[in-house]
C-alpha cells in the first residue's frame, strides 16, 4: 500500500526564534517553539498533532510545509531531504504537499473568484493542467468537494464558512498532492458542518490514498479521525500512540489533564456514584 516507505519523515525537529537585543540586533537568547519532534507518515495514514496554544503544533505544520525554517533536524519527503531547500527547489515539492488553513474567511483571497482561487496553483505551476481545461477542472473539483459547480464565478464572501472550507480543500486538491496538512481545518466551523467536512476528508483519503497531518486543539475530533496521535506540550512530544490507546490509557500527566478537561456533552453519564 505504501510502496517505497514512509511519505514524510521528520527527525529531531527543532524550531527556535532568536531573541535579539534591540539596537544592535544581537542574539541574546532563543525562544524554543518546537524541540526534538520525530514522526513518520505514510500514504493513506492520518497522524494527529494535538496540544493547546503555545504547544508548537502549528509551528511543526508550518515547518513541514516550508513556511518556517527549522533550526535543527531533518525533514524528508518522498525520500528527498527538503530541510535546506531554497524556495525555488521547494516549489516542485509544494506540488505534492498542500495545506488547509483554519480560518475559512481569511484563507481565501477576497478579490478573486472561486475559479481563480482554485486555479491559482495551476497558474503557479504551468504545465500541470492546460489552460483550456481550467474551468472544466475547477467544476470537477467543486463537485468532488460537494459544492455546486455553477458557483465557480462567485466570490468568497458569498459562501458560508463550511462552503469556504470546502473551497480551500478543492484548492489543495487542485495540485494533486500526496500529503495534506490540515492546520486546525475544522476548528472554526459549526459542529454540524464540522462533521460534514470530516466525512469529506475521510472520503477523499480513501479515494486518493492521501496522507494527512492533522493539527488540532480539539481532542474529540483528533481522536475520531487520526490513526496515530502525538500530544505536544510546549514544543515537546509528551506522549504518542493510537487514538484508542491514548484515550483509554493515557500515561503522561499532561495528557491525562488534557483529556480530563475535554468537555463531555453528557457528563452525568460518566459521574462515578
Amino acid at each position: 500500500m505504501t510502496g517505497t516507505g514512509p511519505l514524510l519523515q521528520v527527525e529531531n525537529l527543532k524550531v527556535a526564534y532568536p531573541i535579539r537585543s534591540s539596537i544592535l540586533l544581537r542574539k541574546t537568547g532563543e525562544n524554543v517553539a518546537v524541540s526534538d519532534v520525530n514522526f513518520e507518515l505514510s500514504a493513506g495514514q492520518t497522524v494527529g498533532l494535538v496540544g493547546e496554544s503555545g504547544s508548537g503544533k502549528s509551528t511543526v505544520a508550518r515547518t513541514v510545509i516550508g513556511l518556517v525554517k527549522p533550526s535543527a533536524g531533518r525533514i524528508r519527503f518522498d525520500g528527498q531531504d527538503i530541510t535546506d531547500y531554497s524556495p525555488r527547489q521547494l516549489k516542485s515539492v509544494r506540488r505534492q504537499m498542500q495545506m488547509i488553513f483554519q480560518d475559512p474567511q481569511a484563507s481565501l483571497n477576497p478579490r478573486l473568484t472561486v475559479r481563480d482561487i482554485i486555479a491559482e496553483g495551476w497558474r503557479v505551476h504551468p504545465g500541470l493542467v492546460a489552460r483550456s481545461r481550467w474551468t472544466a477542472e475547477v467544476k470537477e473539483l467543486l463537485e468532488r468537494v460537494g459544492l455546486n459547480p455553477d458557483y465557480s464565478d462567485r466570490y468568497p464572501h458569498q459562501f458560508s464558512g463550511g462552503q469556504r472550507q470546502r473551497i480551500g480543500i478543492a484548492r489543495a486538491l487542485a495540485l494533486r498532492p500526496k500529503l495534506i496538512i490540515c492546520d486546525e481545518a475544522v476548528s472554526a466551523l459549526d459542529v454540524s458542518v464540522q462533521a460534514q467536512v470530516l466525512n469529506l476528508l475521510d472520503d477523499l483519503q480513501r479515494e486518493l490514498n492521501l496522507a494527512y497531518l492533522f493539527i488540532s486543539h480539539d481532542l474529540s475530533v483528533v481522536e475520531h479521525i487520526c490513526d496515530r496521535v502525538m500530544v505536544l506540550n510546549r514544543g515537546v512530544v509528551v506522549e504518542e500512540g493510537t487514538a484508542v490507546e491514548l484515550f483509554e490509557n493515557p500515561q503522561d500527566e499532561y495528557t491525562k489533564r488534557l483529556f480530563a478537561a475535554v468537555p463531555v456533552v453528557r457528563p452525568w453519564l460518566e459521574q462515578t456514584p
Binding site: 513556511l67 481569511a106 483571497n109 491559482e120
Partner: protein, 296 residues
C-alpha cells in the same frame, strides 16, 4: 408582524440607502467638477485663441463683465497686460492638471513599487528604503523644490520631477503599511504554500488587496501637488516666465489687489474649488471601501 416593526425596519433601510447614496453623490460631484476643469483646460484656451505672450495695453485691468475691443465679453475681466483672465485661468488649470497627473504617475509608480518591495521583502531592503524616505522627508518640500529648480532650471518637466521626488515617500509609506498588514493574512500564506514566487505574490496577491488605500492617497496627493505647483509658481521657482499658471497669475495680481482684485482672487477661488474637489473625492473613495457602511 405588526405595522410598527415594519416602519422601523423601513426607516433604517431608508437611512442606510440615503447614506450610501450620499457617498455615491460625494464621489460623483467632485468627479464632475474635475471633469469640467479638464474640459475647460483643453478647450477654453483654444476657443479664446489664447496667446500667453500677447499684450493689449488698451484692455488692461478691466473688471469682470467688461466688453473687449474685439466684441467678446471678458467674464472674469482682464489682467495687467490685457489678457482675458478666464482664458488665462483655464490655461493655468491646464498646467495644474498636467503637473498633477504627471507627478501622480511618476511618484505613484515609484512609490507603489518601492513600497511593495519594502513591505514584501522586509529586512535590509526595507530598512534602506525607509531610511532614504526619512532623510528625504527631513527636507522641507519647498526648499527642496527651490534647490532642484535652481540646479535644473525652470520648466514643467522639472516641476514634475521636483514634486515627484517630494511626494513618492508618502505613497511608498501607505503601500508598505498595507502590504505589511496583508502579508500575515492567511490567503497570502495559502498562495505561498501553492508555490507562488515573489512576482506572483506581489503582483497578483498583495497589490490588488492594497489598491483601496493607495487610491485614496493618490486622490489626496493630486490636490496637494496642484497646490504645491501653484505655490512654487507663486514664488517664481515654478513655471517659466511665458507659461501661465494659477500660481503665477495670482502672484502677478498681488500688485493690483486694491484696484483689480479679480486678477488674484478668481484664480485663487478656482484653485480652491479644484483642490476641494479632489479632497472630497478621496474622502468619498475611502468611505466607499469602508466595510461598515456597506452592510447598512
Amino acid at each position: 408582524m405588526s405595522a410598527a416593526p415594519v416602519t422601523i425596519a423601513l426607516q433604517t433601510m431608508q437611512v442606510a440607502r440615503r447614506t450610501r447614496k450620499a457617498v455615491a453623490l460625494r464621489m460623483a460631484l467632485p468627479l464632475i467638477v474635475i471633469g469640467l476643469y479638464v474640459l475647460g483646460a483643453i478647450f477654453v484656451p483654444i476657443l479664446y485663441d489664447f496667446d500667453p505672450l500677447r499684450v493689449d495695453v488698451t484692455s488692461r485691468l478691466l473688471p469682470p463683465g467688461s466688453t473687449l475691443p474685439n466684441g467678446s465679453v471678458a467674464i472674469f475681466g482682464t489682467d495687467q497686460v490685457g489678457q482675458d483672465l478666464f482664458a488665462q485661468m483655464m490655461e493655468g488649470a491646464r498646467v495644474s492638471l498636467v503637473v498633477g497627473a504627471g507627478t501622480l504617475l511618476f511618484a505613484g509608480f515609484v512609490g507603489v513599487l518601492l513600497g511593495m518591495l519594502a513591505g514584501h521583502f522586509g529586512g535590509k531592503l526595507d530598512m534602506v528604503l525607509m531610511r532614504i524616505a526619512d532623510i528625504q522627508l527631513a527636507f522641507p518640500a519647498i526648499l527642496l523644490a527651490i534647490l532642484i529648480a535652481s540646479v535644473l532650471g525652470q520648466g514643467i518637466w522639472n516641476i514634475i520631477i521636483v514634486l515627484s521626488i517630494a511626494n513618492w515617500v508618502i505613497i511608498a509609506r501607505v503601500t508598505r503599511g498595507q502590504v505589511l498588514s496583508l502579508k500575515t493574512r492567511e490567503f497570502v500564506e495559502a498562495s505561498r504554500t501553492l508555490g507562488a514566487g515573489n512576482t506572483h505574490l506581489i503582483a497578483r496577491t498583495l497589490l490588488p488587496g492594497a489598491m483601496a488605500p493607495i487610491l485614496v492617497i493618490l486622490t489626496v496627493e493630486f490636490g496637494q501637488v496642484i497646490l504645491a505647483e501653484a505655490a512654487l509658481s507663486f514664488l517664481g521657482v515654478g513655471v517659466p516666465l511665458g507659461v501661465p499658471s494659477l500660481g503665477s497669475t495670482i502672484a502677478n495680481g498681488t500688485a493690483h489687489m486694491t484696484t483689480a482684485w479679480w486678477i488674484s482672487t478668481l484664480p485663487g477661488v478656482a484653485l480652491l474649488i479644484l483642490v476641494l474637489a479632489t479632497g472630497i473625492l478621496g474622502d468619498a473613495i475611502r468611505d466607499h471601501y469602508d466595510p461598515r457602511l456597506r452592510s447598512a
